[in-house]
């Protein structure tokens, strides 16, 4: 049943200019929160003191505001308006009509909104949290992820509809999906950053964390985007964003406004050098081209082992380099330390932080491969399901 003739505008975008404005705004919103998140962490590592009104916070709130506008507009239009095309491409939730992605993003906005008073109370009750993962922050991150997943579904549904009859729009939406997917990889690496600190890269823990967090997204994007280079492209977005952060942030002067100060800081402190996930991502893409006819569990099993093997093979020696004097420059960024970095700490001394050996290491890496296989399997199934999403 072809409804394309009936619902031309939003359903089968016939020209590149017909990618709806809200998809662009959605992508902008997620970009803003990604930059805001990186900026905020840097702010806490170099300046420390924080108010509601820091520019980094503004960039994160902007994501919620922009997504809120899109959601409110699309739900109002889908439920009460007369846009038949939009109505046809909508799902119904509690009597309201809009594309699925809108509800996901809207859910994310409510979660972000809820986290604000919760976080404020948390600070008054238990003190300002100095860690990333607290219950109100987890709700905030979940909300931002909801928004990002929602925008991804908005793009995906439009892309899936365009796949049949509009190659140009499809290509544009596919690129946009990969870009937003790349920002999701940035978010995932942001979430596991406490495990992937360079001085911890000779432990099994970072490989386990990345084994759980990354293959699920790479496999999902690969299946959903229908691109042969989905894992490589999204990993490239992460790599470029983090390197850009290292090159740009230290250009701005900053001084700690909080004690205790263990290391005098004079400029914004950027993130650590990106993990070389680009290489295992490329390996996955090359593998997946060749095994399209395998069963998902077979693909998952081989992918998990391959991902951890390649990741360890490149990152382990690269970590040696990061701890050596050779990496002490503006590009690799191992010259930057937080204001509260203890002079006796592993980071300042450029020493391994409790490295793993023997059974702990090899057992850990094997576990990582098992988790990575499971993670890939979930991603493959979810990604295949996503290919069918039309609304």
């Amino acid at each position: 049943m072809s409804t394309a003739a009936h619902y031309p505008a939003a359903l089968t975008s016939r020209s590149p200019s017909s990618i709806p404005w809200y998809i662009w705004v959605g992508a902008l919103a997620i970009t803003s929160s990604s930059i805001g998140g990186a900026w905020d962490v840097s702010w806490h590592r170099s300046i420390g003191r924080d108010t509601f009104w820091t520019p980094a916070h503004m960039a994160i709130y902007a994501c919620g505001v922009l997504a809120g506008i899109i959601c409110a507009w699309l739900i109002a239009k889908g439920t009460f308006g007369h846009d038949d095309a939009l109505k046809a491409a909508s799902v119904k939730v509690f009597g309201l009509r809009a594309p699925l992605g809108v509800f996901l993003a809207g859910w994310g906005c409510v979660a972000v909104l809820t986290s604000a008073p919760f976080d404020n109370w948390w600070h008054n009750a238990y003190g300002l949290d100095v860690k990333i993962v607290s219950p109100p922050h987890a709700l905030l991150i979940l909300g931002l992820r909801g928004i990002s997943t929602g925008v991804m579904f908005l793009i995906l549904a439009a892309m899936n509809r365009a796949a049949e009859n509009d190659a140009r729009t499809f290509k544009q939406l596919q690129l946009l999906l990969l870009y937003v997917g790349g920002l999701a990889i940035v978010g995932q690496m942001f979430f596991v950053q406490e495990y992937t600190w360079d001085v911890k890269l000779h432990q099994a823990a970072p490989y386990i964390a990345m084994g759980i967090a990354l293959p699920v997204l790479f496999a999902t994007f690969s299946q959903a985007s229908r691109s042969n280079w989905a894992a490589t492209s999204t990993a490239a977005v992460y790599t470029v964003m983090v390197i850009a952060e290292i090159l740009i942030l230290p250009l701005f002067p900053a001084q700690p406004k909080l004690g205790p100060v263990y290391h005098p800081v004079t400029q914004m402190i950027p993130a650590k050098f990106p993990i070389l996930i680009l290489v295992p991502a490329l390996a996955l893409d090359l593998l997946w081209r060749r095994v399209k006819n395998w069963k998902p569990w077979q693909i998952a099993l081989v992918s998990g082992i391959l991902f951890i093997a390649v990741l360890t093979a490149v990152e382990w020696p690269f970590a040696n380099f990061l701890l050596s004097d050779a990496s002490r420059n503006r590009f690799f960024g191992t010259i930057y330390f937080d204001y509260n970095s203890r002079p006796t700490g592993a980071d300042r001394l450029r020493e391994w932080f409790y490295p793993d050996h023997g059974i702990a290491l090899y057992g850990g890496l094997m576990r990582a491969a098992v988790y990575a296989s499971l993670s890939t399997w979930i991603g493959l199934l979810f990604g295949r399901w996503m290919r069918g999403v039309q609304r």
Binding site: V93, V110, H123, V130, G259
Partner: protein, 492 residues
């Protein structure tokens, strides 16, 4: 969650405020070169948190006043963060306010940089910071969060149902009965998963709250044992848990303050009609000992002030029962005592008649309000009603004061400079730690004999932390007699 919070709140109520008991704010008179600053630092109840700072300037005129917090000792004490300007009040240009962040529990100092008519000067005030309480959630906030939470849980189920039942349908078509069935199942599964996540979050929240509660400040324990009139005091280590290093304070790193490792107040309960200011000596590193003077029988509340090597002051508390047949001994020369009428016999006035004919007078403000900084002035007059010409420093100071609330929830032992421990004050201002011990600092003469007469008037900066009835014990010295004046205050 509710019972956890109720439990935590009950803990919080019982928690004393380190430097003193129930009196966490710091009141200090600073002389920074030609500038005279009356400083009030209100430390936060939660750490990390914001301390507010108030300064009244009464010396040379000031053009700028900046504050910086740093730990009192250790590596981070060498790297101050950027300072903050204090803001003068529009109505009263000599009154400045500011705030600063205390990011970690422990022994801190606030550094004051003054600029003005008489050039630049600086000084520091030690601040002990510890998490003291957990704020309970207001009902309105709880309801708001619960409603938003229900919306999120229901929303997730609705979205999952829509995703499975409708999102893959081609545009315009309606879901069939099978799709609707699948949608309902998906909704139910999503609801179950979300509820599991919420339960996980609840457990996590409780774990975080309990871990915070475990970090709340508790003083080291003090265990008295009485053998005849030989009093042994054992200082216990509060916690040796290495993961909570800031509350695992040592019980064997005491610094002498005014020449004594402990200033022990014994106050008879419930009437506060017998008070002793005593100085037990170190028998071993965590064990103090002294011979008690003759004391009327009864139950005494003990308040022992100590200072740790990092400048962190604590008041340790315990109860001591003195039997009627306890052998007596004369009071040591630096010790003091008083026997005022019991609290139940009415409020004491502003003039206290001392046993040897001298009188101590309190220039009491008209009204006393809680959380307001005062400089309380006391004068010693001789038997003829003239200002005492033979006033001498007592333990290196013009006087010592103890502010004690009638219900025992507040105890603050303060000095003319203020409520910070003298030893911490010296650490903060770069004086070697041994100086207080030897009494070599100017005006800090520890020896009773040979010191020159001083003014028979003394001022104590202090603010009552809460409304209620307080008893104030003031020690001043003339020739070789240490006097203890007793006054009552009704604070609104």
């Amino acid at each position: 969650m509710k019972w956890v919070l109720a439990f935590l709140v009950s803990l919080a109520v019982a928690v004393p405020a380190y430097a003193h008991v129930g009196s966490k704010d710091v009141y200090e008179e600073l002389n920074a070169g030609p500038y005279k600053l009356f400083v009030t630092i209100r430390t936060p109840n939660v750490i990390p948190g914001v301390a507010t700072v108030e300064v009244r300037s009464s010396g040379a005129s000031i053009s700028s006043l900046r504050i910086t917090p740093t730990p009192l000792t250790g590596e981070a004490s060498k790297h101050p963060p950027t300072s903050d300007a204090m803001q003068p009040s529009a109505a009263d240009p000599a009154f400045y306010t500011g705030s600063l962040w205390i990011m970690a529990a422990g022994s801190w100092q606030v550094h004051f940089d003054v600029d003005g008519a008489a050039g630049k000067a600086s000084s520091s005030v030690p601040v002990a910071a510890m998490p003291l309480s957990i704020l309970p959630m207001r009902r309105s906030m709880g309801i708001l969060l619960a409603l938003l939470g229900i919306l999120l849980i229901a929303g997730m189920a609705g979205i999952a149902a829509a995703a499975v039942g409708q999102s893959r349908l081609s545009p315009g078509s309606a879901p069939g009965p099978a799709a609707q069935r699948k949608a309902r199942t998906a909704g139910a599964v999503a609801l179950a998963i979300t509820l599991l996540l919420v339960y996980g979050g609840y457990k996590w929240w409780n774990a975080e709250a309990e871990s915070y509660a475990a970090d709340l400040y508790h003083p080291l324990s003090l265990s008295p044992t009485l053998n005849g009139n030989a009093l042994d005091l054992e200082i216990g280590r509060h916690d040796t848990d290495a993961t909570h290093t800031f509350r695992a304070r040592s019980n064997s790193d005491l610094l002498p303050d005014h020449g004594h490792v402990m200033h022990l107040y014994a106050i008879r309960q419930p009437g506060m009609d017998a008070v002793f200011h005593l100085h037990p000596t170190l028998a071993s590193d965590k064990h103090l000992r002294m011979t008690l003077p003759s004391m009327p029988a009864g139950t005494y509340r003990l308040y022992g002030d100590i200072v740790h090597a990092n400048g962190f002051p604590e008041t340790l508390t315990a109860d001591l029962i003195v039997p009627a047949d306890m052998p007596g001994a004369p009071l040591a020369s630096e010790d003091a005592s008083a026997a005022p009428p019991a609290l139940s016999q009415g409020e004491l006035g502003t003039s206290y008649k001392l046993p040897d004919g001298y009188t101590m007078i309190w220039d009491r403000p008209q009204e006393l309000h809680a959380n307001t900084a005062y400089a309380f002035r006391f004068r010693l007059v001789d038997a003829s009603g003239q200002p005492a010409a033979d006033a001498r420093p007592y333990l290196g100071m013009a006087g010592h004061a103890a502010f004690v609330k009638s219900d025992g929830t507040v105890f603050a032992h303060t000095h003319p400079e203020g409520s910070a421990a003298m030893q911490a004050m010296m650490l903060a201002n770069g004086s070697p730690a041994e100086m207080a011990d030897t009494g070599s600092m100017a005006g800090m003469d520890m020896t009773a004999a040979g010191s020159d007469p001083i003014s028979p008037m003394v001022e104590f900066p202090y603010g009552f932390p809460s409304p209620g009835r307080y008893r104030i014990f003031i020690q001043m010295k003339h020739t070789n007699t240490v006097e203890t004046g007793v006054f009552d205050a009704d604070v609104r």
